[in-house]
């Protein structure tokens, strides 16, 4: 989800929230006359006049279709985005030619590197863009019988490998670890329990 989309969501939600709350207060004011003066009964005669005009059905339909298309685009823009793929390496490119690297494949390779020596399972690597920075994001599941120090050193090695491969500093490695209780962990390391 991009920052721009998050900002659009927040602004639209604020406008609609304010509108709903204002409409609710207006209805209560109609009943209790705290602020304004209102007719006792609601008349829709003016709206009926507009609705019965020749232009209204076409205008309403055109506006509705535009709003519906915007709504559909808005919904679809919330779908998970595919990771970044080919990225130009500025340090290795010039006017005569450019070098591009597939960050998706790099992420997959580093994910395999993280998974092999540790008890982190189901590691998936994707590449995402955060502003000007390309983030190789590794998501995995921790086995409950792992030792933190091992993970930290392997994560540091991944970060080091990435910074070595992309010395411009615009590509970094991030490791996100969770624990999925539905997935069975590796067998217990030791520990006879109390019988």
């Amino acid at each position: 989800m991009t920052r721009r989309l998050a900002a659009i969501d927040r602004i639209a939600s604020s406008v609609v929230g304010l509108g709903l709350a204002a409409a609710g207060v207006a209805l209560l004011d109609w009943r209790y006359r705290w602020l304004g003066t209102w007719d006792d009964t609601l008349s829709t005669a003016r709206l009926d006049d507009v609705r019965s005009s020749v232009w209204w059905p076409w205008t309403f339909a055109a506006a509705g279709i535009v709003l519906g298309a915007l709504g559909l685009l808005w919904i679809l823009s919330h779908a998970p985005r595919p990771g970044e793929r080919a990225v130009r390496l500025p340090g290795a490119s010039d006017r005569t030619g450019s070098v591009r690297v597939d960050l998706h494949d790099v992420a997959k390779a580093i994910a395999a590197d993280l998974e092999a020596p540790t008890r982190v399972t189901h590691v998936r690597g994707t590449a995402r863009r955060h502003g000007r920075t390309h983030v190789i994001e590794l998501r995995g599941q921790l086995d409950p019988h792992v030792t933190g120090g091992d993970i930290e050193s392997v994560a540091a090695r991944c970060a080091h490998d990435v910074s070595d491969a992309f010395p411009d500093g615009h590509t970094v490695c991030r490791v996100l670890l969770g624990h999925d209780r539905r997935r069975r962990g590796l067998p217990r390391a030791s520990a006879p329990r109390v019988r």
Binding site: D9, V16, T44, G68, L142, G148, E152, V194
Partner: protein, 175 residues
């Protein structure tokens, strides 16, 4: 944490509201096209906006209006809260230099795993409380606290900066 890259977070509540609003906009499109079809004689149903206006015409400020007013105000305030609510943090930063993040649930699972791997421990549970990680173990050994704490600390080394508090619940066995 890498400079310039925000902390990992889940979807903000405003995103859920946005999806509902998107569906509502698609609904407006359906209503408008339906009413155009009715107006042009392509469909024989009554116009939906016409029916709505007919129902609203002559409405007085009764109990239904009060209920609708309260409901709209409450929903509006909830939507406003959702709009400003920050996205939930999904992971905790780790103290080391690597850009390594762990979910609180994983930290608890690791603590429980380490505690249960300690000799003499029958079962363990962990929870976050007031910034600390509280581990409670069931054991028949009175000195289990220190062994469990050492084991949990070793397991979580480099993964959390939280204080670790271990409590032992004595287990009695019938001989």
């Amino acid at each position: 944490m890498t400079a310039g890259v925000s902390a990992p977070a889940g979807r903000p509540a405003a995103s859920g509201v946005a999806l509902v609003l998107g569906v509502a906009l698609v609904g407006v499109a359906v209503v408008s096209v339906h009413d155009l079809a009715v107006d042009q004689g392509w469909a024989t149903d009554p116009s939906w906006t016409g029916s709505l206006l007919d129902r609203l015409d002559g409405l007085t400020a009764g109990a239904g209006v009060v209920a609708a007013g309260i409901a709209l105000t409450v929903v509006g305030v909830l939507v406003l809260v959702a709009a400003v609510k920050p996205a939930p943090r999904t992971h905790e930063a780790t103290p080391g230099g690597a850009d390594l993040w762990v979910t609180p649930h994983a930290v608890r699972a690791l603590a429980v795993g380490a505690a249960e791997d300690t000799t003499g421990v029958e079962s363990a549970r962990a929870r976050h409380r007031r910034g600390r990680l509280s581990v409670t173990v069931q054991s028949d050994r009175p000195d289990a606290d220190s062994a469990v704490e050492a084991s949990v600390r070793e397991s979580l080394a480099g993964l959390t900066t939280r204080d670790i508090v271990v409590t032992t619940e004595k287990v009695k066995h019938d001989s």
